[in-house]
């Protein structure tokens, strides 16, 4: 009797334990995506949300040149910001993991604080910093790099600088676990066996860090693709990426089916970017 009931009791207890998380995550985590898919094929309701029925109109409109241009701007931006963030974040993380523990904690608190700071506040800070009155341009003038102070926004450079600022802490925190647990005995062993420092690095360290570095790169790209505020505040309107267009389609255009379809297009591009990066990581191995 008890033998039979033990699994049942376990199930019951688990079911009870997980009922609330299940309700929330299925109801509010998974279901909204199915709804998004449904709405993306619904006809638009000009004075409301959407109408019943099915149409592929929103998907048909995805081929417009403006949209494709914005998509390619998004992808280009993602690759540039991802590359810079990993290029700076990797050595930074490396140096942080080699610091004394106290100093490590100070850097981590600092990085977490900037990571969590709202992208609105960061974009605003960059706007102030790049303005004509205060900005960096005055320093450039003092250094003789520029003739007269001028506003450095809107520009693509400003957007990239702000996005790197936003993404860099995430890159460091993604690489931190791997680099702080890296086993140096293996490097020592390779050196003892006569490998040069460079060879020890490429043959021992690189295989261990390649996967996580690629993950950090992908996370940086996904974060970049999703940002709405920095390109809107700091960028030129003709280079507004998909995220900004999706936002304005939903808010100013009141066209939720179209915004939903555009979201799926952006999601598809993001997944392709991630898969491409994974493929590249694998290809270099062989």
């Amino acid at each position: 009797m008890t033998v039979l009931n033990a699994p049942l009791a376990r199930r019951l207890r688990l079911g009870l334990l997980l009922s609330w998380p299940m309700l929330v995550l299925l109801g509010l985590g998974a279901m909204p995506f199915i709804l998004l898919l449904r709405i993306s094929v619904a006809p638009r309701d000009p004075n409301g949300m959407w109408l019943p029925g099915v149409t592929l109109h929103a998907y048909g409109a995805l081929g417009e040149p403006d949209l494709l241009g914005a998509l390619s701007d998004s992808v280009e931006m993602a690759i540039i910001v991802g590359a810079i963030s990993v290029g700076l974040g990797f050595p930074l993380t490396w140096l942080i993991t080699r610091m004394r523990r106290r100093l490590q904690v100070v850097w981590l608190v600092f990085l977490l604080a900037t990571l969590s700071l709202s992208d609105v506040l960061i974009a605003f800070s960059w706007q102030v910093m790049l303005s004509k009155r205060i900005g960096l341009s005055n320093i450039f003038v003092a250094l003789g790099l520029m003739d007269a102070p001028e506003s450095l926004t809107p520009s693509t450079g400003a957007v990239i600088a702000c996005l790197v600022y936003l993404v860099l802490p995430f890159t460091v925190l993604t690489l931190f676990p791997v680099l702080s647990r890296l086993n140096y005995d293996l490097v020592e062993a390779a050196r003892t066996l006569g490998a040069s420092p460079f060879r020890a690095f490429t043959s021992v360290v690189v295989p261990m860090i390649k996967g996580p570095t690629m993950i950090a790169f992908v996370i940086a790209m996904v974060l970049t693709v999703g940002t709405y505020v920095p390109p809107l505040v700091l960028g030129r309107p003709q280079h507004w990426p998909m995220a900004v267009l999706i936002g304005s389609t939903a808010l100013a255009g009141h066209d939720l089916p179209r915004a939903s379809a555009m979201s799926f297009l952006l999601l598809a591009a993001t997944v392709l970017l991630a898969l491409g990066a994974a493929q590249a990581a694998r290809a270099r191995k062989s």
Binding site: V24, A30, A113, S116, S263
Partner: protein, 268 residues
Amino acid sequence: MKAAGKFLFLAMLGLFLAAPLVVVTGVSFNGTQRMSFPPEKASLIWYDAFFGDPAWMSALSLSLIVASLAALASVSVAFPIAYAIWKYQSRTALFLESIARVSFLLPSIVLSIVYLVFWSWLGHVGRIEDTVLSHAVVFVALPLATIGLGFRSVDLSLVEAARTMGAREGDVLRTIVRPIVMPYVVSGLVFVFILSLNEYIIAYMVAGFEVETLPIKVFNNLRMGFQPTMCVGAVLFMLLGVFAFSVVALIGDLPKLLGGIARQREGA
């Protein structure tokens, strides 16, 4: 030479990360309406203006309420999942964990459209609970990670020893598991609280007109031109972040929490 290079690299990146924060803090202390740095006639008038303005105060208190509730809701979802994974190796719990991870990793603009559509479909628009629940779900991956780490750092031989000495399941949970896991629960709360406090686009899409949190108010003001009070808001949130994560570092082991190596015991 090598050490100098390292130092220079760290100093440059530190400067890059600190510069916008320093400039905004400086501007917030201006004594005039103009935006200048270093501040002209340093004063606290904009702090007075900020704390004396009911609109800013309501945005601030709304932000704090949303963030606190989102943190509690998020942990209430994460804790049972982490416990079920640790205690029962439940596959359902692992599946729920993967949903949580995916929601965290999606581009935020897509998530904001998802929730805009979802709450409109429910016919439940512009309420504070929309913002709270959306944030709770989007950020649930964080407390899941920290609390999971907490359960995994419970030494099973301690549990075994307690059982041998006759402790019941409840005793084990109360005397051994709870004190170890508690700091990780608090860290999870702090992470969601701070991220929700600062989150803009989802909060804006879901209920931006009715539930105007501080980032939304800053953004709305940004469109109307520069105001020094906005800098005060930014400084406040910066300080909150530094304070919150310093607390996490004090009550727990921050490098370990972020996946690094655990602190060495004193004298070990």
